[in-house]
């Protein structure tokens, strides 16, 4: 009996050890940009009052619930980031989401943010679990068939992130014989796999890829340059962007299919709110070295 207890004890110890190592592949501790944004945002926009959107089922649902549920990302510094300690959400996408909510008459207290992984975005919108989604959401024809997009509000392209001292990679053609990391099944990963040579490896989040890059397990990370720039801004000594973007990704706001009233409302907001856009851009993305101008609405 005593012997088997010892064995069980050893098993528990080993399990705990594995669990601890797993937790260690952690996220960045510093959001980099942002901080104290509650004060800064009030100057940028005001919560609208007496908003009426005739014929928008999404808006009716929000008003009835008295709150707006927004799908965002949580692991992309500078775009959509949730501080693991304070739980505070910062980033360009998150503030765009807040701005839209304010224009619909919802204050910060009435916003519920939901972290939704890429693969679940369409389904969450179709099921009505979220009212709209703002999080590096590329407007593609296939997605447009099942949901609707407002925007684009930002245009970026697929880029490469490498270690700061690595001069061997200057574009996707240099990936031969290298290992590239990206998020499971993501479009940038599929593109590298199909159009360029070199091996790919998948992780659940970009932060995990960054850890792998710093540990020397991979040579490059690929996804949209705006996302990668956020990581460079966090650790400019260790990471850098390599080469020029080699695709065009147009970020839009994902909304329920057929809700043209809400779509028009958000598009008008973007068109008329050029100064807010510029202020958010200068706050989050320009310091990270992302060059962009506000795109025109389609």
């Amino acid at each position: 009996m005593r012997k088997s207890r010892m064995i069980v004890g050893a098993g528990i110890g080993l399990t705990a050890l594995l669990a601890l190592t797993a937790c260690n592949s952690g996220s960045p501790t510093d959001p980099g940009t942002g901080g104290g944004d509650a004060g800064g945002d009030e100057a940028l926009w005001e919560v609208a009052t007496d908003v009426e959107l005739e014929g928008s089922p999404t808006f009716d649902r929000m008003t009835e619930a008295g709150e707006v549920v927004i799908g965002v990302k949580a692991d992309q510094p500078g775009l959509g980031y949730e501080d693991p300690v304070t739980g505070e959400r910062t980033g360009f996408d998150v503030d765009i989401a807040r701005w839209i909510a304010a224009s619909l008459g919802f204050s910060e207290e009435q916003i519920t943010f939901e972290t939704i992984p890429s693969a679940n975005r369409e389904q969450e919108i179709i099921n009505g679990n979220i009212d709209y989604y703002v999080g590096t959401y590329s407007m593609t024809p296939a997605r447009d068939e099942v949901i609707d997009f407002a925007g684009p509000y930002f245009i970026t392209g697929q880029g490469l992130l490498v270690a700061a001292d690595d001069d061997s990679i200057n574009g996707p053609e240099d990936l031969q014989g290298k290992v590239t990391c990206s998020v499971t099944g993501s479009t940038p990963l599929q593109r590298i796999r199909e159009e360029y040579s070199g091996e790919v490896t998948e992780r659940q989040t970009y932060s995990e890829c960054v850890e792998q890059l710093k540990a020397g397990q991979v040579d490059a990370i690929t996804t949209d340059e705006a996302i990668l720039a956020g990581y460079v801004a966090l650790e400019p000594e260790e990471l850098k962007l390599a080469g020029e973007p080699f695709s065009e990704e147009r970020y839009g706001v994902g909304i329920a299919d057929g809700d043209t009233v809400l779509q028009d409302h958000i598009n008008t907001l973007f068109t008329e709110g050029g100064d807010v856009w510029t202020a958010l851009y200068e706050k989050y993305l320009e310091p990270a070295g992302v060059k962009a101008t506000q795109p025109t609405i389609e």
């Binding site: 064995i7 679940n120 499971t184």
Partner: protein, 218 residues
Amino acid sequence: MGVITDNLDLWGEALLGTVQLFFGGGAVALILGTIVGAMRVSPVPIARAVGTLYVNTIRNTPLTLVFFGFAFALPPLIGVRASGPAAMGFAIAALGVYTATYVAETIRSGINTVPVGQAEAARAIGLTFGQVMTLVVLPQAFRSVIPPMMSVFIALLKNTTVAAGFSVLNLGSMRDWLSERGENQLLVIVWVMVIFVAMVLLLSWAQRSLEKRWTVAR
């Protein structure tokens, strides 16, 4: 049907990944499991202790954690990069090492069905422990445990989807990959289910024919 026909390349690769994981993991599990099962009934105390320790630690660990160890912790330790074929290798090792504990216990239960007189008679004519096991006990033990052994392998087949979280393309990855290509992910999951049901039916058929061929006349 468009979900399948529009992405035939990916379905083919994913199915190949699942089959590789199943046969690779199954081979490792069968060999390792038989050795460990035999160790657990061997007359050498150290062998028994090692076998018991192995079964009790690995079988009590969730498969995902075993995968974590093999896919993330082990490669940097031994200085190997886990990508491409190497990632597949580590995934096969994780599945094999995990499933081997179940195989070992199944075989041990089979060994217990072989009457003691068989082993005693074999020893009496001068066979060594290895010969007793390989010539007399294990052949009889295997035949009596085909149904539970097949259950272990069916579980292994479905467990291969865990590898999708560790950078190995298989049927479990299809939801992520195809939703990114704009397919309806619920439909993708239904198709993945259909393929798995078909593959398990194939295994059940193999089980029935093996049972018929290998029935022990008692």
